[in-house]
């Protein structure tokens, strides 16, 4: 295999992010030994994230081409996913800065780990070889496990991270098992060779077993039912900025890979479409149903993340038919971007509240959100906007995203699935609007709520997210065009 240095340009965002992580780690060495000032790290990380975002957007117009002899690919789809990941990282760094500062928990690893995981995500979106997929998956996952355990005080973060690690390793093992089957069936780990085997008609049971195992491995990462069990505990236990990044970034990368494996590896969707449809039904139902009884906003958002995985699976299922495949891929990308912006904003608000609760020793319960509009009208308005967007009500990004996904499902003759999706998302109104009700209509229980200092940078990120959510909801044109251009690779 020839190594072509020019191919490195194709993975520029991942390289930039990895370089940023290394810069941060190295700079640790030169800090003062006692009480070093690490505030610069957030801004360095944000700068590298921004550079990654810029690089992925700049590469958008490049023609699609295979890299490293077919082990990876540089195409619009991957660039859009990388852009979503980098934007999520950028916003999360800004949120994390004030969050960690206020908890006096800024330590060296945090931003480096975040950059490493993002670099894994970007590579994941580009990988077309099962081995590369596995390596990128582990780069992403290991860093995220560590981030979950980042706040070492208290039992919950450690427990959450440990659970995530155990179950995540289990899922990785399943994925590897599937990769082994695929290699056994096709004699190669390249998705293209796998597709050739499938096309040749000589596909054996082995091939389909491998498809099921690989899909199961990523169904775990995207939090599809019944592989969702880890989600509530981990989302609840991890620091809120990390949860937001996880929900936006990991989901985007994992969905991109799932689509890549299924469409590029197993071709025409006659075989896998039905299963994805079943997963989508199950995920939408269980996610929305289990979100209803939650009293903790973080756990509610965790189940909401499961429910949203269900809606995204609808888009994946719609890609099973070739006619509207590019449309469905565009819908998927648009949905990922809109969900990312919304959920990072929501978790940033949670981060501010969570920190107050930590200071006052209160539990994370809806009742502690009561009367937020009195004290912090802007925060309350932003949270309501994110809730409305998650519920899919106009004029927000969530509405346009659901609209495009359900439309692509209808074009793909999945009308019952689309109807079911609409019904479950109406049910979702119940638990999203409950937050709004508490924020605006329930008076505060006690007058002497803890006044934390202002988290200025988190406020900036929240404003940015709110702007994106509104922008994508009111003027979706340019975003949709971007998503469509990225999805054009699936138009063949």
């Amino acid at each position: 295999m020839n190594f072509n240095p020019g191919d490195l340009y194709g993975v520029l965002p991942a390289l930039l992010l990895a370089a940023g992580a290394l810069v941060l780690l190295t700079s640790e060495v030169f800090l003062r030994p006692v009480e070093p000032d690490r505030r610069y790290q957030a801004w360095v990380a944000a700068a590298f994230a921004f550079a990654g975002l810029w690089a992925s957007l700049a590469q958008l117009g490049d023609p699609a081409q295979p890299l490293f002899a077919g082990a990876a690919v540089s195409d619009g789809f991957a660039h859009i996913v990388a852009a979503v990941v980098c934007a999520a990282l950028f916003l999360s760094c800004i949120v994390a800065f004030s969050y960690l500062e206020s908890l006096r928990a800024t330590r060296g690893e945090f931003y480096a780990l975040a950059l490493f995981s993002a670099s894994g995500m970007c590579l994941l979106a580009q990988a077309t070889d099962l081995v590369v997929i596995f390596i990128s998956l582990e780069v992403m996952s290991l860093a995220v496990y560590a981030l979950c355990a980042y706040l070492r005080r208290g039992k919950r973060p450690a427990e959450a991270a440990f659970k995530y690690f155990i179950l995540g390793s289990f899922a990785s093992a399943i994925f590897l098992y599937g990769a082994a089957f695929a290699f056994g069936a096709s004699g190669s780990t390249r998705l293209a060779d796998l597709a050739a085997t499938v096309r040749s008609g000589s596909a054996t049971t082995l091939v389909y077993a491998s498809a099921a195992l690989l899909a199961a491995g990523f169904a775990f990462k995207v939090a599809a039912v019944p592989f969702h069990m880890w989600v509530p505990d981990v989302y609840d236990g991890a620091p809120a900025p990390v949860t937001g990044f996880m929900a936006a970034g990991v989901k985007a990368a994992a969905f991109a890979t799932l689509v890549r494996i299924l469409v590029s590896g197993y071709g025409e969707g006659g075989r896998w479409r039905g299963l994805i449809v079943a997963l989508a039904y199950l995920t939408m139902l269980v996610g929305n149903l289990l979100a209803v009884p939650q009293r903790s906003v973080k756990r509610m958002l965790a189940y909401s993340s499961i429910a949203h995985a269900g809606y995204l699976l609808v888009a994946v299922a719609a890609m099973g038919t070739s006619a509207p495949r590019a449309d469905a891929a565009g819908a998927l990308l648009f949905y990922l971007a809109s969900y990312g912006a919304t959920v990072i904003g929501a978790f940033a608000v949670v981060a501010i509240i969570e920190r107050k609760l930590a200071l006052s020793g209160l539990g994370d319960d809806l009742s502690s959100w009561a009367g937020l509009s009195e004290k912090h009208p802007a925060l309350a308005a932003a949270m309501s906007l994110f809730m409305i967007s998650l519920a899919g009500v106009p004029p927000t990004a969530g509405f346009m995203a659901k609209l495009t996904v359900f439309r692509s499902a209808i074009e793909a003759d999945l009308v019952p699935l689309a109807i079911f999706g609409v019904i479950t998302s109406v049910a979702g109104l119940y638990y999203y609007l409950r937050v709004v009700v508490y924020v605006y209509m329930v008076p505060e229980a006690k007058a002497d709520a803890v006044q934390g200092g202002r988290l200025l940078s988190a406020g900036l990120a929240i404003a940015g997210c709110a702007l994106i959510v509104l922008w994508m909801g009111v003027l979706p044109g340019s975003f949709a065009a971007l998503a469509q251009s990225g999805a054009a690779v699936f138009g063949r």
């Binding site: 427990e159 440990f162 659970k163 155990i166 179950l167 289990f170 899922a171 399943i174 596909a203 049971t205 389909y208 077993a209 498809a211 099921a212 195992l213 899909a215 199961a216 169904a219 775990f220 039912v225 019944p226 592989f227 069990m229 880890w230 509530p232 505990d233 075989r271 896998w272 039905g274 299963l275 079943a278 149903l289 289990l290 209803v292 009884p293 609209l403 439309r407 003027l475 979706p476 044109g477 340019s478 949709a480 065009a481």
Partner: protein, 653 residues
């Protein structure tokens, strides 16, 4: 011609609104005023420059600002269309808007919410400009809803007063009824033609049925927004807002949107002659209805409000008989004199420390001469007394109504229905309404400005500051000057005034009504009748409300027509009727629903039931979600098994 500066016209006031709304609380007052006023003035200047530079051959500027959204085959651009009609209206909106901004500086100066007020006002201008300049129905609808929003915000501006908040709510609810019609109209048109842009709708061939349904639905929207029967009830209550708002939104601009829409969609409406006849009929009925009520109102702003409803009816007669130019011309002249009247009433209210009751005014000409003079000029204009603008524009409508006597365009084909007498009926109703209009407007003037002062003790009526009187003078001057656009074409043919003539000016803009435009005719007989009517109204008012005994005028009126006046004074009991017909049944229906559905089904089955469901789900969730990693792993493994099994099952042939 494609240009790139049109978006600035609505954008500037929008930016002003954003600055005033977001930073207004902290900005120094002078800065805030400067920002609010200058943005509108700049818009006006851009509009004026564009207006003067409109190319002669194809007098259209067009700009596609951005692709707004594409959903399937629905492709909507946010585009702006600046032709002679929308251009003229842009000038009216920004020009009158600017004057009212200036006036508001004096009027709202002491209100603590002044920054909110100016933000809303600028937002309104931006929305109104979007409505006027939008090049497609969806953009128009955005402006339509935007002006509605600002209207509710400003009606309920003093929202702590329960009654005023109620007025805002009423306007909101009544307008919703119309807006649903408007939306359905858009859908029908899109479904039939595949487009929402005016350019394409203006040439699209439509079947009679489609055109009629779409035109009817859109007209329902116009009925709501322009306060026609039966949805006019919100407008008199809308006077709860600050008076400059009534002048700008509820008289000069927003409420005329329906007329503008019908004129803009002239192709659609001439394709649906039945609906067009309905438009004229509704207009005529509303004009008469509101004018009658206006004769017996004592609140000065309510008199003007009913007069606005009535004048809007006149405009609908104009567009309804296919004389789109006449309807829109009256729109323009009405904007000037009605704004002047409203601002004058505002000055009166201001000078009398909040007094609005005509019975407690009188003799104000001595104390506020400038207000009195400008009010008198505008009253002359609205009562159609030669030669001020209202005379020409109103008479043009009546002449057109009479002249389309055969209602040619109702002839859909050979042997189609003829409503030969409709034109005559419209003319008679309109002329009678003109008589009443002149009567009640002079009544209003006499009661407020002539005779002895009957106002509250201890209040010293005073003239308003110059910042409030100068807009009055400008508007009064415009009320007079705008007569040039209404001069009959034969009079000005060949002279430079010909270019200013509205009929000539908007010549190729509107679709000619089916059956051909009315041929030339001599305006004189009509003018003489109209002149007589205008003076007759004045005479009647003088008889009953002559300055010396104005206070007892209402009693004399009541003695002449006791039952009629009672009906007028009670506004024909329409509010009570709606209360009886809609509100109460709805309440009892809702109460019944509440009993059946809420108390038993919802509370019993869903609330308690769903609480149980939630508890059950939670219990189920707890069983699986107990935090036990082994259990999680087991569920995952089972899922993998199921997935592999299903895959193999499905893939085995």
């Amino acid at each position: 011609m494609e240009v790139s500066w049109l978006h600035l016209i609505p954008l500037l006031p929008l930016a002003g609104a954003a600055v005033c709304g977001l930073l207004g609380k902290w900005l120094p007052k002078a800065w805030l005023y400067a920002i609010a006023l200058v943005t509108v003035l700049l818009s006006f200047c851009i509009g004026l420059t564009g207006f003067l530079r409109l190319p002669e051959e194809v007098p259209i500027f067009h700009e596609v600002a951005f692709n707004w959204f594409s959903a399937g085959s629905l492709h909507v651009d946010m585009g702006f269309l600046f032709d002679r009609l929308s251009g003229a209206l842009t000038l009216v909106v920004t020009g009158v808007g600017f004057l009212i901004h200036v006036y508001s500086v004096g009027y709202m100066d002491e209100d603590p919410g002044y920054w909110r007020y100016f933000a809303y006002l600028n937002l309104f201008i931006a929305a109104m400009l979007t409505l006027v300049l939008g090049d497609n129905l969806v953009a128009m609808f955005v402006g339509w809803e935007g002006v509605g929003l600002c209207s509710y915000l400003l009606i309920g501006f003093w929202y702590t007063d329960e009654e005023k908040a109620y007025a805002g709510r009423k306007a909101f609810v009544v307008n919703r009824i119309g807006d649903v019609g408007f939306l359905i109209g858009i859908f029908v048109l899109f479904n039939a033609t595949g487009s929402v842009s005016f350019a394409q709708l203006g040439v699209a061939p439509l079947t009679l049925a489609t055109a009629s349904i779409a035109a009817l639905c859109l007209f329902i929207g116009a009925i709501g927004k322009s306060a026609q029967l039966p949805l006019y009830v919100w407008l008199p209550d809308a006077m709860a807002g600050p008076t400059p708002v009534s002048a700008l939104i509820h008289a000069a601009t927003m409420v005329t949107a329906g007329v503008y829409m019908v004129a803009r969609m002239s192709h659609l409406y001439t394709s649906a002659p039945g609906v067009l006849a309905l438009v004229a009929l509704v207009g005529a009925l509303t004009a008469l209805w509101a004018a009658l009520i206006g004769t017996a109102q004592n609140d000065i702003k309510r008199v003007l409000a009913y007069s606005t409803v009535s004048q809007l009816g006149f405009m609908f007669i104009g567009v309804g008989v296919g004389a789109f130019f006449a309807g829109t011309m009256h729109l323009v002249t009405h904007a000037f004199f009605k704004a002047c009247l409203f601002l004058g009433s505002g000055a009166v209210i201001h000078g009398l420390a909040g007094e609005q009751d005509l019975r407690r005014m009188g003799g104000l000409r001595k104390y506020m001469p400038q207000t009195a003079w400008t009010f008198a000029v505008a009253t002359v204009a609205i009562s159609g007394i030669f030669p001020i603008s209202g005379f020409f524009s109103k008479d043009e409508i009546l002449a057109q109504a009479l002249h389309t006597k055969a209602y040619d365009f109702l002839t859909l084909g050979p042997g189609g229905p003829h409503l030969t007498s409709l034109g005559t009926i419209l003319y008679l109703v309109g002329s009678f309404t003109a008589l009443i209009t002149s009567f009640y407007m002079w009544r209003c003037y006499f009661l407020a400005f002539e005779g002895e002062y009957r106002g509250p003790e201890g209040v010293h009526p005073h003239e308003s500051p110059g910042i409030m009187t100068s807009p009055l003078w400008i508007l009064a001057a415009l009320s007079v000057l705008s007569l040039v656009i209404g001069l009959p074409e034969p009079w000005v043919r060949g002279s430079f005034l010909e270019h200013l003539n509205w009929e000539h000016f908007t010549g190729r803009l509107f679709s000619p009504p089916r059956g051909g435009p009315p041929a030339g005719f001599s305006p004189w007989p009509g003018y003489l009748v109209a002149l007589a009517i205008g003076w007759a109204g004045f005479g009647l008012a003088w008889l009953l409300y002559a300055p010396a005994r104005a206070a007892s005028g209402d009693d004399r009126f009541a003695a002449l027509f006791p039952r009629l006046r009672n009906a007028f004074a009670n506004k024909f009991w329409v509010d009570e009727f709606y209360d009886w017909l809609v509100v109460r049944p709805l309440w009892s229906f809702a109460r019944g629903l509440w009993r059946i559905f809420d108390a038993t089904i919802i509370d019993g089955l869903f609330i308690n039931g769903s609480a149980q469901l939630v508890a059950w789900v939670a219990a189920l969730a707890r069983r699986f979600q107990n935090g036990d990693v082994q259990r999680y792993a087991a569920v995952t493994a089972l899922g993998v098994l199921a997935l592999v099994y299903a895959f193999l099952l499905r893939s085995s042939p």
